[in-house]
Symmetry: C2
Subunit: 348 residues, 2 copies
């Protein structure tokens, strides 16, 4: 799963402009986008001098995700991280605190500036100005780790994670305890589990913390509910599966939406996937239902014989692994005159 972003800047670009997945977005009306542009221009001033021509250049951005936006799949985290990284690279900026700039676009974008396992640190400043991200371990540290994303069919109206979290800070009493006591302890524990490649420990903390996060959402007033019935069926299935195997083979985590993110190691993937498609069957051909790095599944293997649920509770299943952070690639989305390479422009 990735975001691809191209930018072009220069005296021949007449205004700042961003295409996101083919849709043009107003920068003036988008506070977060504006903040990122401002902070990058600030960095240009600092590093290239107040009178540098580049400060005045307008910027054209084209960004595309190969996965749905606003579906609780952290598309804005990937998007802002990619944008800030691309801008910094294009302007040859060095030593800027890119995570902090990306964070102004989307909180968790600071994490996506790095690959592998990344910690988003709170910092000590009341306003969070020193909140940033640090890498715990590169993706190469645990190459066996796989992530299975279960995209859930859902039509419920969403509460954005920013709105939800602001309301939680205002109204949830339990959040105080979570911040003060649970998060610091668990952060220490999960860093240790990652360092040791202790999957069972890693998996248990992941599940407990996902549940606690959603408990806080429920303790928010009015309550903020991201999980739906299918999410809960996935949770039950993961616990049942682990109980059947007698080991924690797989774990789940949920962000601000009903989609599940499962962690599993490569060695256990194939057997689990067989049971998964048995429990969550589909009317679709497997080629559109199973995406990403899926090897051929053994036919009709239902190792633990769980009961199948209704068909098509899931939109699709995507298997992926840890990313290794943003990098420069060769295929641009923009022509050198600033026009879009794809035909999307004319249809919008």
């Amino acid at each position: 799963m990735h975001t691809k972003t191209s930018i072009i800047a220069g005296p021949f670009i007449t205004e700042d402009c961003v295409w996101l997945n083919g849709q043009i977005m107003s920068i003036e009306r988008n506070e977060r986008l504006k903040k990122c542009f401002d902070l990058i221009r600030n960095l240009i001033k600092i590093q290239k001098g107040e009178n540098s021509q580049e400060v005045k250049w307008k910027i054209r951005v084209c960004s595309e995700n190969n996965f749905p936006t606003a579906a609780g799949l952290a598309s804005s985290a990937a998007g802002y991280a990619c944008l800030v990284y691309t801008l910094a690279n294009a302007f040859g900026l060095v030593n800027g605190d890119l995570p902090s700039i990306a964070r102004q676009g989307s909180g968790s974008a600071c994490r996506s500036i790095y690959g592998g396992f990344v910690q988003w640190t709170a910092g000590v400043d009341d306003q969070g100005y020193d909140s940033t991200a640090v890498q715990i371990a590169a993706d190469t540290h645990w190459p066996e780790m796989r992530i299975i994303i279960l995209v859930v069919n859902d039509s419920k109206k969403k509460t954005s994670s920013t709105v939800g979290m602001k309301q939680a800070v205002k109204t949830s009493e339990l959040l105080k305890y979570r911040i003060q006591k649970c998060v610091p302890e668990r952060t220490k524990e999960i860093i240790q589990a990652i360092t040791d490649k202790n999957f069972e420990k890693f998996a248990e903390i992941t599940m407990r913390d996902s549940n606690q996060f959603h408990a806080i959402c429920l303790d928010t007033y009015p309550p903020c509910v991201y999980l739906n019935q299918v999410s809960h069926e996935i949770i039950s299935f993961v616990h049942d599966y682990n109980e059947a195997t007698g080991q924690i083979k797989v774990s789940y985590t949920f962000y601000a939406g009903p989609n599940a993110f499962l962690f599993i190691q490569q060695i256990d993937l194939s057997l689990f996937m067989s049971e998964l498609v048995n429990v969550f069957p589909t009317m679709q051909p497997n080629s559109s239902y199973l995406r990403g790095i899926v090897s051929t599944l053994p036919n009709n293997v239902k190792p633990y014989g769980f009961k199948s649920k209704d068909k098509d509770l899931l939109k699709y299943i995507m298997v992926t692994k840890l990313g290794n952070g943003p990098k420069c690639v060769d295929d641009h989305l923009l022509n050198s005159d600033g026009t879009l390479k794809s035909k999307i422009e004319s249809t919008n």
Copy 2:
């Protein structure tokens, strides 16, 4: 909503025996029932002397609820409270701590020994031996209070509240904070709100505390989920309704199941009910869908015009009010020779 219990005891009864809603139950295999019988016999010994004949009498019990059991409607609380009250009355026991005895059957049964608003106090003993119930206010203090029970159509397997709460105590970190900080503060606040008949305050605490209770269930490992999609739709509807009226007119609380208990004052009942049956429509005739103390609803009045949801998400809606605690009534369920009055006995 009530439980009716008859007992008969004497030298002519050959063994302890309990019929619950027509089903015979083994006392030997039911620890809780056994404990209640033992504690009552203890009380007989203390009050009537070690050698009293009544200590040796076997007891026959017949108990019936006019509402479903094991559906999260607190049928065991009502049942054990009624049983203990009936036994104490039949044996002429005075000054016994009936809430504490009832609590051995079902924790919340201690509350049901009294009418009106009742607090279940924790006590200071580690083992909870001094945990009991005290009445905050009689039902006559707030006669305008109505309770609407929305019985939800649901087929999910249930976690009993006892199992769920034991697991929560063992595994939920947030529960520690809830016990130490949130519960004492809220208890004080809601007692004040009841004393003042401050509905909005009462309602808000009720909703916040219901949400926090279910947050704790979710923070339990593995998570314990009592609310389903319909429960969440009810929660959303209540918040939307209050927002539409500009006041907190109605509140919700959920126990160990998906059914909603709404609080509302008599003056607001009719208008709210009109909207409720519009939002949660049914294929049933109103006579079986709307139960309890429902006055005729104004035809087709949808004061705020909320969108109707799918039909028959609810099994039925029951409107009731605060009970006034157990009392003796005249119609026995048992004949004087210990046989059941109804024909149920022969079919079991």
